[in-house]
Amino acid sequence: MKRAGTIIVGTGQAGFQTAASLRAEGYLEPITLIGEEPHIPYQRPPLSKGFLLGNQDADSIELRPAAFYSDHQIMLLAGERVRSIARGRRLVEIESGGQLSYESLVLATGASNRALPVGGAELEGVLYLRSFAEAILIKEHLESAQSVVVIGGGFIGLELAAVASQLGKNVTVVEALPRLMSRVVAPIISEFFREYHTSKGVRILCGKTVTQILNQAGKVRGVHLADGEEIPADLVLIGIGIIPNTELAAAAGLPVANGICVNEFLLTPDLGIFAIGDCAEYPNTFAGCRVRLESVQNAADQAQCVATAIAGRPAPYKALPWFWTDQFDIKLQMAGISAGHDRVVMRGRADARKFSVFYFRGEKLIAIDSINRPVDHMMGRKLIAAGAHVTPELAADENSDLKKLALGSELAPQTNPAS
């Protein structure tokens, strides 16, 4: 009888990497990769950057060419949806009909755009960005648009604002919270980006909410703010976060909180089912709590962890989180999780556009955000991962050698990062 093998639900970075890593780990059983999008797996980060600017085309954002899947005996079912999981019989039921059996099931179902709950959000010219199809729509609209309002001053919103500005549009960003990217970065970084966008001609409005998207014959003509201001726009882009796709797991009776709940092995209470990437909530040793992270690093490293486990060598997931965002010519590199910090120190100078912010919780270095200081970022990853002792004074002193410190921390016995 044919072996059931592994079924992976979701063809994003996490799903793709699970399949690729399984083969790289020598896994010989069948692999089925199922995703709702009609395309072969592609990278999402360029969708809000190089793809819209025209620097990268559809071909160049594919994670691998189509032949990769057949060459590696990965059965790719694109444009297919998993309707339900029958856990008792280890089967998934798919939309086009039929059932597929699994020995291991990996849920990498990703997330969906959070909808803006105001009138007019359904108008022509109001768009969100998550998928390749949505990116194509935005690209088409950007060709004729003159005035763009971006709702949401997080990574996606600001990347879209930068792109639209670079394409010569009038751009306004409306953020409900008092500062940009406030969920993840320190005020120094928020302020740096506010100033930088402003210097490029982007109007940044923080602490303002959109109450209505304005309609002219079925097309957007602007937005109305709570303070009464109306901002004209022929294109409105919304980036106010995502909601994890947990319905499939919940319907199968798996626990769901802020994502599908998994343990440190990324396993659900059903020991045949893993959940990874944007859809999964797991205990993170660096944060010291359960988190759900939305990043390429998290997707790819969790995929590798699960692939290794399915290949017979399980180990707890303990990769250090890192992130990046590109806005205009500025790359912000982030290492660690800054939530819960009680002190920040700065290394370098904001006016020189070359600085890092080091985040501490008590004595412990927990995160570093860097602008044009790649050594701080890369050595920071080593230092945080090793739980190295770095004092705020040392971090702030540009003459201290982080590389030397990082090397020392690798040689020293590992401390528990959660301690």
């Binding site: 990497q17 690729a20 990278q43 360029p46 691998r64 590109d326 790649p374 050594v375 890369m378 590389k403």
Partner: protein
């Protein structure tokens, strides 16, 4: 078209034709060269496209920028004097015959 030769860690060699301007990383992905992961997609955030460049060609390459230099420090396999990130090497006519060796592991 210039040729690039990829040598796997166990010595298997494959020669591929690469359009001028394409990176050594992208050419590897397009041609099914295993051993290049390219997790970040070529933006110098990970080290999973690390290669060892043949000495004959190493000096022909534009020097690594600060970001690449920093990333090479976190490579999974030992950094050597001829280590580069293949996402940062754009193929030119002058690089015809470029030989890169792939490390055993990239993570």
């Amino acid at each position: 078209m210039p040729k690039v030769i990829y040598v796997s860690h166990n010595g298997q060699s494959r020669e591929v034709e690469v359009p001028v301007g394409m990176t050594v990383m992208n050419a590897a992905l397009k041609n099914g060269i295993d051993g290049i992961i390219a997790e970040c997609g070529g933006v110098c955030m990970c080290s999973t496209c690390h290669v060892y460049v043949d000495e004959k060609f190493f000096s022909k390459l534009p020097p690594a920028q600060d970001t690449e230099e920093a990333v090479l420090e976190i490579a999974a396999e030992e950094r050597k004097p001829t280590s580069r990130l293949s996402c940062q090497i754009k193929v030119t006519e002058d690089l015809d015959g470029l030989t890169v060796r792939l490390p055993e592991k990239q993570r």
